[in-house]
């Protein structure tokens, strides 16, 4: 399968996302002015500081031409993964419910956190077991998830691990249809034991398995 990794001015985790995706398939970069997703099977909106995080994190990126294509891809049922700044962009774009607020501590946090898989029945977590723990790093200043309405939670920070004051310890949520997922932790930074954990690979493996189930042609690639 082929992943497309969006690159905005100010994205900085795009290459890590490409390299993580390449552990389970192929990956190509998609520029912010692209209007065509080049037949990718899944889209990753990576972390960083798109457009300098001016106004609000993710507020400007959602108007990039490539986001029209990503929105269309999502409404056609394509799998879209937003990591950190990508999560903020997807919330601002209305592809995911809720919003990300400044950490309660007002500080940048950068450390491995323990996550609990709340729901392994999704396209993004099928390679995990429900209630399984994953060790994946966070690194953000604006990661406090808030939603006034109930949401489908796929990942939570384990008890005592919430790094940002996120509502109900929410670390990652998906849309009602289950094909758009956003999370603050960085699975693309946890794909090799050399850097502390390879638990993040499970997210990429889940996506590959879901795409293969949906399309025999992809399985053959």
């Amino acid at each position: 399968m082929r992943f497309g990794v969006v690159r905005f001015p100010g994205s900085c985790d795009d290459i890590d996302a490409v390299q993580a995706a390449e552990r389970v398939g192929e990956a190509v970069l998609l520029g912010h002015r692209e209007r065509d997703l080049h037949d990718v099977d899944a889209v990753i909106v990576p972390g960083g500081f798109s457009y300098g995080d001016y106004l609000r994190a993710g507020a400007i990126a959602r108007f990039a031409p490539v986001m029209d294509a990503v929105g269309q891809f999502a409404s056609d049922g394509g799998l879209v993964l937003g990591i950190c700044n990508g999560f903020q962009v997807l919330c601002e774009a209305g592809l995911l419910p809720g919003a990300l607020l400044p950490n309660v501590s007002l500080r940048f946090v950068c450390r491995h956190v323990s996550l609990e898989v709340v729901d392994a029945g999704s396209a993004f977590t099928s390679a995990c077991a429900t209630r399984e723990r994953l060790s994946i790093p966070v690194k953000h200043t604006t990661g406090r998830y808030y939603s006034p309405a109930p949401v489908r939670v796929l990942l939570r920070y384990a008890a005592g691990e919430n790094p940002n004051g996120s509502q109900d310890d929410i670390a990652g949520v998906c849309n009602e249809e289950g094909n758009v997922f956003g999370l603050m932790p960085h699975p693309e930074h946890a794909v090799d034991p050399l850097t502390g954990s390879s638990d993040g690979l499970r997210i990429f493996e889940s996506i590959r398995a879901s795409v293969a189930d949906a399309s025999p042609a992809v399985r053959a690639r």
Partner: protein
């Protein structure tokens, strides 16, 4: 027309910046300060002020977490 858009966190949403400032003021000897909230001031010249609410809803504020107020600037 010159206008100011004031954007503030919605009531009920924790505002750690406001809290930090509220705690800092007594340290400088200013007592009796409560309910500090920190938002954003956006100044702009607009040809058609009727478009302002939509600008606020779609970009200048995030209505889920922020309230906005449009004021004429001199």
């Amino acid at each position: 027309m010159r206008v100011r858009v004031l954007v503030r966190p919605k009531q009920g949403i924790l505002d750690p910046q406001g809290q930090a400032v509220e705690r800092a003021l007594p340290a400088l000897g200013f007592s009796g300060v409560t309910n500090v909230h920190i938002g954003r001031l956006i100044e702009l010249d607009v040809e058609d002020p009727n478009e302002l609410p939509e600008m606020c809803e779609r970009l200048l504020a995030n209505p889920l977490i922020e309230d906005y107020e449009i004021v004429a600037a001199r």
